[in-house]
Structure formats: C-alpha cells, structure tokens
C-alpha cells in the first residue's frame, strides 16, 4: 500500500454522489494526486466541477493539455476530450472518436495510466451503465496496479463494475464507504 502513488477513478451514472462524498472526506493536506474520469455531457463546460467541489477542502482542476500531474491535486477529465496520461507524468488530451460511446472514456484514461504508473497506482471503478473502464481495469491489473470496483449490489447502475469483474481479476469489491476509507488510509 505504501508504494501506491496515484489514485485513478472512473465512474458514470450513480458515481456522482460517491465522488462528492469522497472529495468531502479528504483532508486539505491529502498527499496523493487523484485523477477522475467521469462520464459527462459534452457541451456542459461549467457547473460540474462546482457541484463536485461543494463540500470539498480541495480544488478540482480540469487539466489543460500537457499539464503536469502534481501530488495532492484532484484532476477531472474535461468535457468532450479523452484524458490520457503521458510518459513524463503529464496529461495528454485528445479529440479521438468516442470509445464505448464516451468521450472522455474511462478505458483510455485507465489504459494510459497503467502504462505510465504501472504498480504505483490504484484503479477504482464505480457505478455506471456501460462497460467503459472494464478493459482499462484489466490493463491496470496486467501492469501490476491495484484494482477496486464498487460493490455492484449497492450501485445505481451495476453494468460498469460487473463488466470489470468479468474481464479482470479485481483485487477488491468494496462499498462506497469502504472505498473512501481505503483512499484515506493511503495518506
């Protein structure tokens, strides 16, 4: 657990309240970067971050292309861009076609994070109504990273975590509160 340096979280329908609760639980000096890839409306550029930050001590940043990843920051994939992790620890954005009907796609963020972060990352997949993120979780696992899915039984939409469980040997299945406890312990 001490070797984990990056937290990468994907989610869609039903994940919003989990993320709000998580961010609201984080102390101001939380040391690790958290990278969020959440399905969102393509044309809505403002309001989403403000809604996520509502109880947060920390600011959420939508990165520009080539922005460096810094400890203790929370990053959210911008609307209508894929958000990739580039060698050299910075973000690389793309207008590549939809993947799993989504842009941003969780698979793309997870797969590229797996390539760069390898066994230093934990990938967490939350509630969602399609299978985006499943192959990304497989990539994280194959690269030596740690994987957690939200317990499908408590998800508003369980397709996403169930798809991941079908294709990868996920390390833990946790409820939302347990996921938050796990993340807090990483500090």
């Amino acid at each position: 657990m001490d070797s984990l340096k990056y937290i990468v979280i994907g989610g869609s329908a039903g994940s919003f309240r989990v993320i709000v609760k998580l961010i609201g639980s984080l102390p101001e000096n939380f040391p690790l970067p958290i990278i969020l890839c959440l399905h969102r409306l393509k044309h809505v550029r403002s309001g989403f971050i403000e809604a996520l930050e509502i109880k947060s001590h920390l600011k959420i940043i939508e990165p520009h292309d080539k922005m460096h990843i810094k400890p203790g920051q929370i990053y959210l994939a911008p609307a209508n861009y894929h958000m990739m992790i580039e060698l050299g620890n910075h973000f690389s954005l793309s207008t590549y076609e939809n993947v799993n009907h989504s842009r941003p796609s969780i698979d793309i963020t997870f797969e590229t994070a797996a390539t760069v972060f390898r066994n230093k990352m934990v990938g967490i997949l939350l509630s969602g109504a399609n299978k985006d993120g499943a192959l990304g979780m497989k990539a994280i696992k194959m690269a030596g990273g740690y994987t957690i899915v939200q317990n499908p039984a408590e998800c508003q939409a369980k397709t996403m975590p169930e798809a991941a469980l079908k294709v990868a040997k996920i390390d833990q299945i946790l409820g939302a509160n347990q996921i938050i406890e796990y993340i807090l312990k990483l500090a």
Partner: protein
C-alpha cells in the same frame, strides 16, 4: 490485448518511417499517436504490429494511413458553439472593418473547415474572405476539393448548431440525402489547397486569422513550440489566432507575442 502496439514497437515504427520515407514523427505526442497507429493497425489487413511494421517498409499505402491519422478527425461540426458565435459576431467583422479576411488553416480538419465556411456565409462575409488550407494527407485535400466528406453525427451537429444560435436553419447550408450529408458547393469561395505539414508550408498571403484548433494536442512540447513560432512568424500583426479550448499557449515563451482576447474560448491576437 495481444495485438497491442508496445512502446518498443511504436519506436521501431517511427524509426522505420524516418529511415524509409524521411518523415520524422518522433516529436508527435507519443500516447496519442501510438493510439491512432494502434487503430490503423487493427483496421488494416495485417492486424499484428510486427507484420504491419515489416510491410510498412515497402508498402507506401500503409504510410498514407498513418499520415491520415496523425490528427484526430473525429471533431463534429460546430464543436464549441460559443467560440463560433464569437467568431461570427465579433472577430470576423472586426477583421473585415480594415481589410479582406485572410484565413489560414494548417493541418486542416474537414469538419472545422465546413463549419468555418458556414460561419462566413452566416456573417455575410464569405465573399470578403480567402482561405488557405494545408494537410499532409492527400486524401483530406481531395475530400475538400471534391466535397466528398460525409458529415459525421448529424444529430450532434444539429444540437451544436442550435447552441451557436443562428437565425438561418442549418438545412440552408447542407445537402442531406439518405446516404450523404455535405455542405453546399456555393459555400466554397476563394480556397487554396496545399499539400504539406505546417512546417514546410506557408500560405501565399499573410493571414490575419489562423484557425488551429486541437492540433497542438498531437505534438510534444518541443514540436508545439516550433508550430507556435511558425504561426507567429507567418501571421500579420493584429491578426487573430484560435486554438482548442484545452490547449494552452501561455506555457511557452511566445506568450509575450500574443494577447488574450477570450481566455475561455482560447482566442488570441498577435501583437505587432
């Protein structure tokens, strides 16, 4: 997953393109280009990276596929409708007050080009403008010349157009049949097409407006700076420059050569 292009294979492919075709792709953003090439390989007749790289040495059609996929062509018309609205209402009339609108679109994206033509017409400035476009892809230039590109995701285009807020229905600008969606021929006015990349090509005029959205994404830091310098040197003083909303030119030394006009829509003005 078995046929994924590894980083080693990617570098082997880039070296092959350089050695055999004298084209240097090493300063394109690695993850982005690797993903695009992965897609090309999967859709090719070879499907496996090793075989593709082997055949690339002698089959130039594979190089053409790579060149066609250097940049994402998945942009839908009127992406970022607010930007296009500002362009129509403020930027284009501002340029036109002083002179003819001279536009350069290096590494042209077809749907962005189509959008620009509609916006010029919508602003009644189509006949007061000339456009120079360039591309490394002959297929892209051919599609523009023949207006053979089929507009993607027409429903999304309609939704974007509504947010752009024109008084004219979109159907006035498009020809839509069962099989194809395209812009009307009369929306093409003075257009110059050039084959080549942004570094080897320059328009025959000094542009007072450069549209280069979501192209810097495809470059690494070094190539990005080179492209921005090229654009700066090619432009007329006081000209407008627009990049993608998540592309940031402020990180670079040339920021003192441009002034921010609209930070949210990434609109800049070249200083004299």
């Amino acid at each position: 997953m078995e046929n994924l292009l590894s980083i080693l294979q990617y570098r082997e492919l880039i070296n092959c393109v350089k050695d055999v075709y004298a084209i240097d792709l090493s300063n394109y953003a690695l993850t982005s280009l690797r993903k695009n090439i992965q897609n090309v390989i999967e859709n090719s007749r070879y499907r496996k990276p090793e075989k593709f790289i082997e055949m690339l040495k002698t089959d130039k059609s594979l190089l053409n596929l790579i060149i066609q996929n250097l940049y994402s062509e998945s942009v839908v018309m009127f992406r970022d409708p607010a930007m296009w609205r500002i362009l129509k209402q403020n930027i284009l009339p501002s340029i036109h007050q002083k002179e003819e609108i001279k536009i350069w679109m290096p590494e042209v994206c077809i749907e962005e080009f189509y959008t620009l033509c509609i916006v010029l017409k919508d602003a009644n400035l189509l006949h007061n403008s000339i456009i120079s476009v360039s591309s490394q892809s002959l297929e892209t230039l051919d599609a523009i010349r023949k207006l053979s590109h089929n507009i993607k995701e027409i429903d999304q285009v309609q939704a974007n157009y509504i947010r752009y807020q024109s008084q004219i229905p979109l159907s006035d600008y498009l020809e839509i049949t069962d099989k194809k969606s395209n812009i009307k021929k009369e929306l093409i006015h003075k257009l110059y097409l050039s084959h080549g990349d942004i570094f080897s090509h320059k328009p025959s005029f000094k542009p007072n407006f450069v549209l280069f959205r979501n192209r810097l994404l495809s470059y690494n830091h070094s190539l990005e700076q080179k492209a921005l310098n090229k654009i700066y040197e090619s432009m007329a003083g006081g000209g407008y420059f627009i990049v993608g909303i998540k592309e940031n030119i402020e990180m670079f030394l040339i920021q003192d050569k441009f002034r921010v006009i609209d930070k949210e829509e990434s609109i800049y003005k070249r200083l004299f």
